[in-house]
Symmetry: C2
Subunit: 362 residues, 2 copies
């Protein structure tokens, strides 16, 4: 079991759950990294007494009740260098999560990774042996995979905010509509990604890097009880059922030989029934590139950069919900031939994709 | 991998499937034991060239194309003594399967056990470390259980022939009606046991002995896609999905490190949905004693003997469908205080239960 952690993204829902598990397991929290929620951060500092703290913006430093406060992207990297913890929980949102993942691995730390964009953008250049995934789907796969040879992996999708809307209704959907996730409450970005199915596309890419296979598929299971399935060579399929609660993967990241109750088990008789539905590219246009992206996973950087820009435009009311998919599909086709050979290339391509979209939509 | 087997019950559906797997894996079939289907047995002899053969009745011996034909219950035991195979596939039906299971284990052979009655009747006196179960439910549990600590086991039931019938309709059901299983075709006895839910009660008892727990439950999943679930201490539940085909557990009994395709994997999108239903003791009166029987598993001998006698009476038109449950529940209450201390006691109690019922229904 780990006895000390660095927590990046402490005030989000993964961060808060991580601190609950830290408290339960009596872990030292060596560092807390937050964004703009200084009030919650100060509460966490009072409870966990970290050695190092970082916030997003320099001007917030005076409000933080701590004497070693760093700031910005570089502040996170400085903290990683200074810390002695073997485990970094990376629950940062978006592209900014990549650099800390890379640095932590370079420093030979393990990374409990909730930041999806790290693997999506740069999976080719990340040593996944140092990574344990924090999300229901990849945790489920990890839980199910043993020594047997698998033939195919499956993850499930909730279907997001518009799964029961007609195409015509979705065409008129606002940013606020898209934030209304049917099954749980998460941050804005991941909730939008869930409505567009980009989140699931990213999870397929992550699975590709984590489990070294392109033979992976997703479908909709609305109740979010089954998270992952593994089809083994013999013809058996096994499935992972659990409540949606990140405390389970977090606890396993800290203690791989966990042997105590973290969640209340599900009750199938109460659940009554489950339904399995195809992901329809008419409702989720991003799904058109799924097979191609799995064959060309280095294009993840293009999908991620264009997605982050598209979400910004949608939030600003400058494109429609389906407009986001148009932007991503356009960038995907425009940058179809890129072939990054290093992290430096990734950084350049990310910039180019964002510039391309900024120019087109200025 | 085993290279030679003794097959008890070669002409039933498990037997036929076992021979398919034997052929595929190029196994020697050292002995074939059949009942009355001499024509099929002769075909099997021609194909597999066994050293020893046994049939149920002495008068069938001349019809068998083989020079070492044994007969009856003792014939089976003689063959076990003579055979050198390390693995015995016991697919006999009913109480007569018990003695060969015991003898095989005494001879230090492994038993691939499809005969449910062995463990139901005498689980307390059987070394289960020598047993691998051949049926979808226990195979599913075995497949799912690893090194993690479980908190509860589940197996599923199809619901049998009358699952969609009203109580009033079931009251008038005939033997022939009860043989009409919705999901697959099996022998008469197991099909009746499936309609009364006695089959599932027996499987719970078997699981009790095989996995050393009383914390085991069953529910109805009509499509028979999920066969078993394991709830682990951490709060995860894992499930085993597969087509209903005994070739899968048979293949694993022969080759525990199996790594090739035996069945076509299931397709959840084609299946579309699954439903989970409680087992209603109004429809399945035997279910009333489920908890008590799991707490007093030594009473399995009473349930089995009374069940075999009840089925005979139902087949002969001497009791109704629900009359079978009445007979079993009556015997269960009559013999509630027995406490067998040996296999010899089991044999005596089995006899007493049958005599009690015979006297009452003569």
């Amino acid at each position: 079991m780990e006895n000390s952690i660095v927590l990046l993204g402490s005030t989000g829902s993964i961060g808060v759950n991580t601190l609950e598990i830290a408290k339960r397991f009596n872990l030292e929290v060596e560092a807390l990294v937050a964004g703009r929620n200084i009030e919650l951060l100060n509460n966490q500092i009072a409870k966990f007494n970290p050695k190092f703290v970082a916030v997003a913006n320099r001007e917030d430093i005076p409000k933080v009740n701590h004497n070693r406060v760093f700031y910005g992207a570089d502040g996170i990297l400085e903290i990683l260098e200074l810390s002695s913890s073997n485990l970094v929980v990376n629950a940062l949102v978006g592209y900014i999560g990549l650099a800390p993942t890379l640095r932590a691995i370079k420093l030979d730390k393990r990374v409990a990774l909730a930041n999806k964009e790290s693997l999506v953008v740069a999976g080719e250049f990340i040593d996944t042996s140092k990574i344990v995934p924090i999300d229901s789907e990849h945790f489920g796969l990890y839980y199910l995979l043993g020594d047997r040879e698998f033939s195919k992996l499956y993850i499930t999708a909730s279907g997001g905010a518009f799964r029961d809307w007609s195409i015509e209704q979705i065409e008129r959907a606002t940013f606020k509509d898209a934030l209304n996730h049917p099954n749980w409450s998460m941050g804005d970005k991941i909730t939008i990604d869930s409505a567009t199915m980009t989140n699931k596309l990213f999870e397929l890419l992550e699975a590709k890097w984590l489990f070294n296979t392109q033979n992976i598929e997703a479908f909709i299971e609305k109740k979010s009880i089954i998270h992952a399935l593994v089809e083994f060579r013999d013809g058996s399929t096994v499935a992972h059922f659990a409540g949606v609660d990140m405390k389970l993967p977090i606890a396993f990241a800290i203690e791989p030989n966990l042997n105590e109750q973290i969640l209340k088990p599900i009750n199938l008789l109460e659940i009554g029934s489950l339904e399995f539905l195809e992901i329809d590219p008419k409702k989720y246009p991003i799904w058109q590139i799924k097979d191609d992206l799995l064959k060309n996973p280095h294009l993840g950087v293009v999908v991620n950069a264009s997605n982050e820009e598209a979400i910004r435009l949608f939030r600003e009311g400058r494109c429609t919900f389906f407009g986001m998919s148009d932007i991503i599909l356009d960038a995907y086709s425009k940058f179809r031939d890129i072939r990054p050979n290093s992290i430096d290339d990734i950084i350049i391509i990310d910039r180019e994709v964002r510039d391309y979209i900024a120019k087109k939509y200025r």
